[in-house]
């Protein structure tokens, strides 16, 4: 398009020039033609024409030249301007070409040129901006690098340092190798190899140990702890993180090493590790010793720990035996005089003794170690609470250097072991004391026949002994932790009213009073117990009431005996009063001669009979007394039961006759040689038959059957009397017991108790079968003791 228009313009310009030339020629020709017509000489005409032609051509040329000059000026000015613009761009000046009036094509060229120039200017400005940014970033990076305390060193593949930060400069500036202030461009460092900077003697690191080399080889970040040595031989530890820097092709071109001086940290860590180890060992010893209270071997274990930590061979402990003034090996019981020897000296001085190489100084070796070839030893005093209690002795068959730390550990271990051993002794003493006290207390607590339970200040039961459990029918597991009023709840003697409301004896004891009283308790099985309670406050060591204790005894039997004794006294008194009435009254009347003759004789017989009755009662009482005191013994002799029954019938005849009771007797032939106490068996039979008479209606029948069954002699007394209420049967042989029928009859309640004892003395027992209204059979079963020749 542009080219087409330019050609078009050039064509127009040529056309214009041609036209002008043609017009000029035409004008000249017409003039010459006019002159020919007018008859001019041809030659002259030719010459004139030539002159005219030359003139015209000259004019034409001149005109064309002017025109061309004009036209070329019009065309070439913009081109010139373009040229200038291009030169300007070449010089780096991006200007805009100003052409106020030009041809279209050139204007387009200039416009394009201007656009190109503007674009270039923009790009250039952007580049400049980016360059500034890069510079800023570089400055920032340098600032950051310089701000980092760690040393940063950038190393190229030739192992030359290309960049260091300020920290690295400070580190190495005092050497000749790095100036105080270095930069990336510093010529001073460009040819320096890293190992010459880090290791002043310039020895190259081993390849395996060189972080930069490793990064170049592997292309990966490498971390290591490196030791640098300065020219004075001082070693510094560095924690190095070496990272690769890649070029655009992915090749490692630099290694950035960040070096942190951890010399102090390493030293602290080393110190810490050492302390830690020391503490671990001491802690381990402390842990072992804490078990030592219950385990004597723990002491040995603790010694092993110390021995192990110090690298010794073995050791032992010597303790002062105050009684014998000797040192006794704690674990082997071997003895050493407490005198002039190493352990004794150490104990007396309280100072640790250390011999790193004693080379046969046998004074320092306990005699039973002398054959072990000990070369080094240490002896540490063991300190108790307020005095030295012994010494710890450690030895080795090799010389041994003891550091200051070893001394510290030994001192600490000695103190701990000393306290532990003293603790063991105290614990053992306390344990023995406690075992004795507690065992005794438990034994007493659970062995006493009295029931005992304790409560705290809130009436919660805190303990209960075995006797209380049995008496109350409770389990201590069930009641401990419960309120006493909920599980026990004593009652007023003889009444159902609970004592817990206002008369609680324990509440008085909680106020500090001791109190004794009677109370009843109803068991879960319904049995009622009579208890004698004694309540006291429980006080702690400062005298503060922390609860109360109730000690109680089951006095149910005693109460029953008391009741029966009271009843007995009443009965005896009644029984005594009746015969005494005969004696007193009839004697009085006889003395006043109010009766005479046969009547008087009858009176006297009555007096005698009632006197005998009194005597019999006294005999029964005495028998019971003897029976209870164990003085009742048998006088065995062969018994003729037929004769015995004959005598008894005679004795009881009047009673039998009065009630018209028939007494039948059947005696087996196999009882003839029975050896027994005749008087006591007579008493037994009289008691049983008298009971049958007393508890039978008139006209009843009593049958006495005496027979042998194997090695037993059986005496059966059966009647057709009133019978015995079933609830009375279990109690019939109890002293002073009188059944429901007792109110109707006279008696002391001693007869059947005596019968049972007589049967027991004969190796037997007594039993009852009875039906109310039908009669009773009493069976006495005795061990058949025959004559020796039978």
């Amino acid at each position: 398009m542009f080219r087409d228009r330019l050609i078009y313009r050039l064509f127009l310009m040529l056309l214009l020039v041609s036209a002008i030339t043609m017009l000029s020629i035409l004008a000249v020709t017409r003039d010459e033609m006019e002159k020919i017509k007018e008859g001019m000489d041809v030659l002259l005409i030719e010459k004139q024409v030539l002159n005219d032609f030359i003139s015209i051509s000259f004019y034409m040329f001149f005109l064309s030249f002017l025109l061309s000059l004009f036209l070329s000026q019009k065309i070439l000015h913009p081109v010139k301007e373009l040229y200038k613009g291009a030169l300007s761009i070449k010089e780096g000046n991006l200007i805009k070409i100003q052409v106020p009036k030009t041809y279209d094509e050139l204007k387009e060229v200039i416009d394009v040129f201007n656009e190109m120039s503007a674009s270039l200017k923009e790009k250039t400005e952007e580049l400049e901006r980016k360059n500034r940014d890069i510079k800023d970033a570089k400055d920032f990076l340098e600032t950051v690098m310089d701000s980092i305390e760690d040393e940063i060193v950038i190393i190229n593949r030739d192992m030359k340092v290309v960049k260091v930060n300020r920290a690295a400069m400070r580190k190495y500036h005092d050497s000749d190798l790095l100036p105080a202030e270095a930069s990336f461009d510093d010529k001073d460092i460009k040819d320096r190899t890293c190992y010459r900077i880090f290791h002043k003697k310039g020895q190259r690191c081993d390849i395996e140990d060189c972080p930069a080399m490793t990064v170049f080889q592997t292309g990966r970040t490498y971390r290591t702890i490196h030791t640098h040595t300065d020219d004075k031989g001082n070693k510094s530890s560095y924690e190095i993180v070496a990272s690769p820097v890649f070029d655009h092709q992915g090749d490692v071109v630099y290694t950035i090493e960040v070096l942190r001086d951890i010399t102090d940290r390493m030293r602290y860590e080393e110190e810490l590790n050492r302390k830690n180890k020391e503490l671990t060992v001491l802690n381990s010893i402390a842990g072992i010793l804490s078990r030592a209270l219950t385990e004597k071997n723990a002491i040995q274990e603790a010694i092993f720990q110390v021995v192990d930590m110090l690298g010794m061979d073995d050791g032992g402990i010597f303790l002062i035996d105050d009684r014998t003034n000797e040192l006794v090996c704690y674990l082997t019981d071997k003895k050493l005089p407490y005198g002039n020897n190493l352990p004794s000296n150490v104990i007396r001085s309280g100072i640790i003794h250390i011999s790193s190489d004693m080379s046969g100084n046998s004074d320092l070796i306990p005699y039973w170690f002398s054959e072990l070839g000990i070369r080094s030893c240490c002896c540490v005093p063991l300190k108790g609470r307020d005095r030295m209690i012994g010494a710890l002795y450690l030895f080795s068959t090799e010389p041994h250097d003891f550091s200051e730390e070893d001394r510290v550990i030994l001192r600490s271990a000695g103190d701990m072991i000393g306290i532990a051993i003293e603790g063991i002794k105290l614990y053992d003493e306390l344990k023995n004391l406690r075992i004795t006290e507690k065992g005794l207390a438990d034994m007493v607590f659970n062995s006493i026949s009295e029931g005992l339970y304790t409560i705290d200040n809130n009436y919660t039961i805190t303990s209960m002994n075995r006797a209380a459990e049995e008496m109350l029918g409770l389990s201590s597991k069930e009641v401990i932790g419960k309120k006493c009023m909920e599980v026990i709840g004593h009652r007023e003697p003889g009444y159902d009213k609970i004592l817990c409301d206002s008369n609680c004896p324990l509440s008085l004891s909680l106020k500090g009073e001791g109190i004794t009283r009677d109370a009843d308790y109803i068991r879960s099985d319904g049995r009622r117990l009579s208890l004698r309670l004694s309540c006291s406050p429980l006080k702690d060591s400062r005298g503060k009431v922390i609860g109360a204790v109730e000690v109680f005894s089951d006095v149910t039997k005693e109460r029953e005996i008391d009741r029966m004794k009271t009843e007995f006294v009443k009965t005896v008194s009644h029984e005594f009063r009746t015969p005494l009435s005969a004696i007193v009254g009839m004697t009085e009347m006889l003395l006043e001669d109010e009766v005479q003759g046969e009547r008087a004789k009858e009176y006297l017989n009555t007096i005698m009979k009632e006197g005998e009755r009194l005597a019999a009662m006294v005999t029964d009482l005495l028998d019971i007394s003897r029976m209870e005191s164990g003085e009742w013994i048998l006088n065995r002799a062969e018994i003729d039961f037929n004769l015995l029954m004959h005598d008894i019938k005679k004795t009881l005849l009047s009673m039998l006759n009065r009630k018209k009771i028939q007494l039948e007797t059947s005696i087996g032939n196999n009882v003839k040689c029975f050896m027994g106490d005749r008087e006591k068996l007579k008493q037994l039979l009289i008691n049983l038959i008298t009971n049958s008479i007393n508890y039978s209606d008139e006209g009843s029948l009593i049958d006495v059957n005496i027979n042998r069954n194997g090695d037993r002699l059986l005496i059966r007394v059966s009647d057709t009397g009133w019978g015995i209420p079933i609830e009375d049967i279990p109690h019939l042989t109890r002293k002073f017991y009188r059944g429901k029928h007792g109110i109707k009859t006279k008696g002391t309640g001693l007869g059947l108790a005596l019968c049972k004892e007589i049967a027991r003395l004969h190796g037997g027992d007594i039993s009852f079968t009875s039906r109310l209204g039908m009669g009773t059979t009493v069976t006495v079963e005795l061990s058949f003791e025959g004559k020796a020749d039978e």
Binding site: S573, F576, T578, A582, T606, E610
Partner: protein, 125 residues
């Protein structure tokens, strides 16, 4: 002539009292069984009853209560003559209606004095 019924299961007591009172001119009826006493009392209408406590089948105390609850017999005075010497027994006996409580052993002479004294104060001999 005053009439006294004596009830006791001990024959010698009956014998002794009968002898003593009869010699003093008092008519005495003796009974050994309390269980059969009530009809006799009703029939005889005694001036005084001397009653033992401890007797089989029917105690003197119960008999006393029966007499005192009988509209015809309730006014007959009763002496309780018993071996039961406790104070509580005495209270119980007097509460049941007896006007005199005498404990065994007793003096027949003293008993006669008490009987005479009572009968003199009442109907007289």
């Amino acid at each position: 002539m005053s009439k006294v019924i004596v009830i006791d299961d001990e024959p010698f007591v009956l014998m002794m009292i009968e002898d003593k009172l009869r010699r003093a001119g008092i008519q005495v009826i003796t009974l050994r069984e309390s269980i059969n006493a009530l009809p006799v009392i009703k029939k005889e209408r005694p001036d005084l009853i001397i009653l033992d406590w401890m007797m089989p089948e029917l105690s003197g105390l119960d008999l006393c209560k029966m007499i005192k609850s009988d509209i015809e017999l309730k006014d007959i005075p009763i002496f309780m003559l018993t071996a039961k010497g406790q104070d509580t027994d005495k209270q119980l006996g007097l509460k049941s209606g007896a006007i005199q409580y005498i404990t065994k052993p007793f003096s027949p002479k003293a008993l006669l004095e008490m009987v005479k004294k009572f009968l003199d104060r009442g109907e007289g001999i």
